[in-house]
Symmetry: C2
Subunit: 327 residues, 2 copies
């Protein structure tokens, strides 16, 4: 019915590769080109690879750019600068800096008549939507977010900076007892230590002292000191063989009271169990790219978050079809 | 910041009473009046009770009418007729008739510059949203909806029509084995009998034959014949004491593949565990009443479904606050 939407990918790491695969699952989208800071000739891909310095030549040829760079260094620069030339979608996930990022991208998008969906993915993203929904429906209640089982890049990086460590990975694991207490509707007060535990798989450098390394990890402030932390020492080959995937997930749970003091407890839960965190985030970005294009077609401009996008715009189906098949 | 939104309730059964209680939990909403077909003087309530025949006198005094009648007889008439005079929200839930109902309400609402959010609640409603989201994010996958444990009014009514039965109630129960198979990501093919079982609590009339009653229930086409059905006989006092609540809930689960044939399975699950089905549905209606008012303020008109309403409009918080606190 509607025409094919042409997509560009900016940045070709795990997330960019996930977006490339996700676009193949959607027949109303077509991947035009991938933009990279590396030498385009050096990268294997079935998609045209283009130097990011040539990106403005694609103005008018690409409907939506999906920004797959990191939140620390890439997006703060690329988000506002690309919103001047294209509709964009990104997964900016530094929660504390979202308001500032929103303002910058919004200024660029509004001035140039573009739509930019920022901070989508699953947290921020689908988890945020469920926090909002559950709070709006059950105002007299309490919300809990659990993350995991999943790899935390920040904590894995912290392990690898420890003296004597050659490689390592960290899993954040929600404590099943805590999840069950929340599901019971009792609205427990839970400490950091009660909600999650941290499991580390560490490869030592030759001659390193395992006990000293384990102690340094477990006592690291901000990262591990407030948690129960388990440290396993493994060989590099084991790490590569058994810990190469990037699983993640978690649950947003809210329970609340309704009625007039009759003790009725209501529980809303949203959960994800992901074999691949970057591939799932990529799939969410792709659905929001479709929505960004449609919002632009409807005359909207500016930065948008998941809170501003009706679900109907995420699906390739028409409103009539959605009411008939999915409502 | 924004002014108080004035609400009317049409119909004062379980759902209407739930809406009355839910409005008290939201300080930006005020309940103006409850409209009833009964004699208003005969009903106990802290809210002004008004005959439904006087409802048009409230034009301009009430921002949004929440329609709490039934889908079989009340809403097909009240939905289109009240959409001429007010912004409305309803929980029309006869899935097969939604497209026709949408068209009628839409005509009335558009012609009179009103907004009508139809078919909200949890199914149709929050479950529909999650079916859409999961399908849009994981197009290469399979979706399962489980209902219960909860009371089915239709099946309870069917039991009560059986010869020899004086009262009864039916619970729909998802089969845990089936739910777990779906959660494993194996996308099983499940028969009706494998997904849910039906449990009945039946009060017999004096002299009725329990075996004959149980057989008639279990072999009833459409309602029970395709399921494993358990029938318990209880005294009326037990039914009143132990089965007076209206619990319900269920799960929408989709698992799908991402990536390029690397076997990565992703699972999205949304679940509800409700002590009171009508009170929860009421809480959802109230959040969508806020959204209906805001869509109208923004100049929109016509019938809307949950697919057309951005989550941000459901919350009393401002967009800035939502981005800061919940994203």
């Amino acid at each position: 019915m509607s025409r094919i939407i042409s997509i560009g990918i900016v940045g070709y790491g795990n997330l960019g590769r996930g977006v490339e695969a996700a676009i193949r699952q959607n027949s109303d989208l077509r991947l035009e080109a991938i933009f990279t800071r590396r030498n385009p000739g050096s990268i294997e891909s079935g998609t045209p690879m283009v130097s990011i310095s040539d990106i403005e030549q694609y103005k008018g040829k690409i409907d939506v750019m999906i920004l797959c760079g990191g939140s620390a260094k890439d997006l703060p620069e690329q988000g506002p600068s690309l919103a001047k030339h294209f509709h964009t979608v990104d997964s900016f996930d530094t929660h504390a800096l979202i308001p500032e990022y929103y303002d910058k991208v919004n200024d660029a998008a509004v001035s140039n008549g573009n739509v930019s969906v920022i901070s989508t993915g699953w947290d921020p993203g689908l988890f945020s939507l469920n926090r909002l929904l559950a709070e709006a429906v059950l105002p007299d209640g309490k919300e809990y977010t659990f993350w995991g089982k999943g790899v935390s890049q920040g904590h894995s990086d912290a392990i690898r900076r420890v003296e004597g460590v050659s490689n390592g990975i960290q899993y954040t694991i929600p404590r099943e007892e805590a999840v069950e207490r929340v599901r019971s509707g009792s609205n427990p007060v839970l400490t950091t230590r009660e909600k999650h535990l941290r499991e580390c798989f560490v490869v030592l450098k030759d001659g390193a002292n395992p006990e000293a390394v384990a102690n340094e990890i477990k006592s690291m402030p901000n990262y591990f000191a407030d948690y129960e932390t388990v440290v396993h020492f493994v060989a590099e080959a084991t790490l590569q063989a058994e810990h190469a995937k990037m699983p993640h997930g978690g649950n947003v749970i809210r329970s609340g009271q309704t009625g007039q003091g009759n003790g009725n407890t209501q529980l809303i839960e949203f959960g994800l169990k992901l074999d691949s965190n970057p591939e799932f985030t990529a799939s969410v970005l792709v659905a929001y790219a479709r929505a960004a294009y449609r919002m632009a077609q409807a005359g909207q401009t500016g930065a948008k978050t998941v809170f501003d996008v009706p679900y109907g715009l995420l699906s390739p189906k028409s409103p009539e079809q959605l009411r008939k098949e999915l409502l």
